[in-house]
Amino acid sequence: MTTTLKETPKLVGGPANYLDERLGAGSFLKRNLRKVFPDHWSFLLGEIALYSFIILLLTGTFLTFWFKPGMGHVVYDGPYQQLRGVTMSEAYASTLKISFEVRGGLLMRQMHHWAALLFVAGMTVHMLRVFFTGAYRKPRELNWIIGVLLLTLALLEGLTGYSLPDDLLSGAGLRITEGVAISLPLIGTYLTFFLFGGEYPGEDVISRFYSLHILLIPGILLALISAHMILMWVQKHTQMPGTGRTNQNVVGAPFYPAFMAKAGAYFLFTFTAIAGLGTFAQINPIWLFGPYTPADISAGSQPDFYMGFLEGALRLMPAWEINFLGYTLPLSVLIPALVPMGIIMTGLALYPFIEQWVTGDRREHHVADRPRNNPHRTSIGMAAVTFYGILWLLGANDEISSFFHIDLYHTTIFGRVAVFLGPALVYVITYRICMGLQRKDTEVMSHGVESGVIKRMPNGQYIEVHVPPAEDIADHLRGKAPIPVVSGEPDSEGIPPKGARSILGKAKATMSKKYGTEHIALEEDHGHGHAAIGSGDGEDRKELH
């Protein structure tokens, strides 16, 4: 352990000097080499998405070397016996080639697909973390919006991607996409004719989806992800409440060397997971599905998981269709295709601004909330998760029906009710749980925690001694910050404040009061631990210390 560097080695110093003389990189590094990154397990969720994206770029590039995005007909004469002599599109034939004739091709295909699933899953849980901890608050609203755009684009990227192999399963997804697009009022038929180059399925859609999938959307994703990272870097990451952590500082490990190494390792772990899945968990075995024909479908066709909520919405919708003046409004397609997505994405995008409006809180926030400490936000989030979850679950109602032997139509009818009742119920339950947890925190702070030490009192009574919580835990709990409330109370002459006179203002004041009122304040007992069980007598408590 005696070998240490006395100065920067020439191998590093030389190029560094070269770059500094040309780019002035030194001042950037001076500021950023020891940039502090706070630590919490939940901060790793977004990294899963980031690293999955890198793996998607790598594996995707590999796939493009062999994939032919054409819909021209060819007769298969490759090594997969079961499909020899079958007429199929070039896209499907080249996907078979990648799977069976390119060494590592199947691995890359499966890794690409798994990475795509992990990409969207990573983004989703990362988004939930940011939402539930209020990490989207000022100054991070713009980065939140970028995140919502990224999630939307990722869904589109997934849709264009899994349509490319042109197998029977992907064709079913494409057909549904067409059925949805054509249902749009006014522009629907034109949109589909422009997208498909004429009538469905045409011979253009695969090559068009291909250029969207490998060029346009990934290009935008890359730009937005870079912006997302830069903003995170400039604004510094939020931190969980804890000892010495305030809104004016950031506590953690330096970028160089610790965070850099950890991030590298985490990239490799993500890569490991995706490689492992690509090796051991078969995904999208397109050779079993056969080439696409609009005349056939296999039962139990399911989209990738991130499309499940749209699929479920389509399944739950009653058969509503309006005909008027010779025009048709297919509500049974329009509503499920647009409304859930609209509610979720618009709701996500607007939430930071609505919350700011309701609370009147224009301050910067860098310490994350614990979800329990903003119970209405947490309940709204959980209600949305439930709404999404029920739609998602019912997207597989045929599987549920056959697996659990429940009547298929009953699952649909259950879903139609549950999609409304579920979120309401979950809202109430979540709110109660948050309140309970807040109460628990208050108890820990004011009464301490059970020490495991049983003491026998002079009168023969046994009590368990309570002690103050560990300092780091106590500091974590003390991170609870009151939510500001916009006052709507009339003054002494009965005149409400300026902002609360209109109907909107009154609504805002009412909501603000509901949203921000502190019901369970975090009282501290100034550290005097005491025995709680059965000892109501203050004198007894004193004796313990």
């Binding site: 950890k262 609009p294 056939d296 297919p330 002690v467």
Partner: protein, 358 residues
């Protein structure tokens, strides 16, 4: 908490501060190794050198595993050929297994390195409000106004307006360019390739269907127009589901003139979003679309009895030719497949037209 309060706890030392589930300090669980030597910077705590040395050996072992797995990956590429399902599976396992192991041990090695050899950090950096200071803002504000005036953009109205005017058609140009992405729909969605005399053939084999041979009630066939078996655009609208009933089983919804000897033909393309409604339940005569479970009653004009589809599957008028093969009598009289804006209530119009004709 203030330091005063802190000191008042010192007498409580026999009852340590802690939280449920964490063992008290000094208990056997924590072991009796000495605490790490105090570092110069309290925010950077270096690990015990002996422990770091032990960790180094473990990290080196993991890196060695990565080295060997990397070699195994390259060897697998050379050794395992692909072609058949089995050989591809073996190649996939060898390549993927060695890659996974290589990545996993590399990642684990680095994590051990960070956790056991690098110091524990508790660095603090200050944050500053994102907003720039007042002087900067004022300077930028003034510079902007001055620059705008210098440019003459404000003063010269004509320049400003013609610039906007100039931009408008250029902005539209890319949209105009997209027009040739596809033809306009016209009336193409209202027609299929079915016409009087076109034979029905079995999907897959392409064989025409003799009405007399398709004679067991409850039988079902997926049918495509003769000569269009590989025309996907035609199939996307013209595919049929052909079902044999006893003639008395038909209810009012089915147009009996359009059936032949209990054989009825419906469009297979679901009226919801266009999936092939491919499932048929013989006992209930229900046609079920596997995508979103729209259910149609095949004896009653494919009326919707459950699910999101809003319209019945259109019925195709069929008959037989001189050789007894099933043929179409005409095209569908309503557009098949999913609803679209210009469709209108085609069923009502078709009904009126039929009544007028009869």
């Amino acid at each position: 908490m203030t330091s005063n309060e802190q000191s008042s706890h010192e007498e409580d030392a026999r009852v340590p501060r802690r939280v449920i589930g964490t063992p008290a300090a000094g208990t056997a669980v924590l072991g009796d190794s000495p605490p790490p030597a105090p570092a110069e910077d309290p925010a950077v705590v270096l690990p015990d050198p002996a422990a770091a040395k032990r960790a180094e050996r473990l990290v080196a072992l993991l890196f060695l595993v990565t080295f060997l797995s990397g070699i195994a990956f390259i060897a697998s590429y050379v050794i395992f050929q692909v072609g058949t399902v089995d050989s591809t599976a073996a190649s996939n396992l060898a390549l993927g297994g060695s890659l996974t192991l290589a990545l996993f041990s590399l990642a684990s090695g680095i994590v051990l390195w960070v956790r056991r050899i690098m110091p524990k950090y508790n660095l603090v950096q200050e944050r500053h409000l994102m907003v720039s200071d007042t002087d900067t803002r004022e300077y930028v504000d003034k510079t902007f106004v001055a620059g705008a005036n210098e440019s003459g953009f404000v003063k010269h109205k004509l320049l400003r307006r013609t610039l906007l005017l100039a931009a408008a058609p250029l902005g539209l140009a890319p949209l105009v360019l997209l027009k040739d992405l596809g033809p306009l729909p016209g009336t193409s969605l209202r027609h299929t390739v079915w016409k009087k005399g076109l034979r029905l053939t079995v999907e897959g084999t392409g064989a025409p269907i003799r009405a007399a041979d398709f004679n067991s009630p409850g039988g079902i066939l997926s049918v495509v127009p003769e000569g269009y078996a590989h025309d996907l655009n035609a199939l996307a609208k013209a595919t049929l589901i052909l079902i044999k009933f006893r003639p008395e089983q038909f209810k009012a919804g089915t147009i009996k003139n359009w059936t032949h000897d209990g054989i009825v033909a419906y469009s297979k393309i679901c009226t919801h979003v266009g999936c092939p409604a491919a499932l048929y339940e013989q006992t209930t005569h229900h046609i079920l679309c596997p995508c979103h479970q729209s259910t149609f009653d095949a004896t009653d004009g494919a009326r919707v009895i459950f699910g999101p589809a809003a319209r019945p599957l259109p019925q195709l008028p069929i008959g037989v030719d001189s050789e007894g093969y099933l043929i179409a009598q005409a095209d569908f009289d309503v557009p098949v497949g999913p609803s679209f804006w210009e469709r209108g209530d085609a069923e009502a119009e078709a009904r009126e037209a039929r009544e007028k004709a009869s």
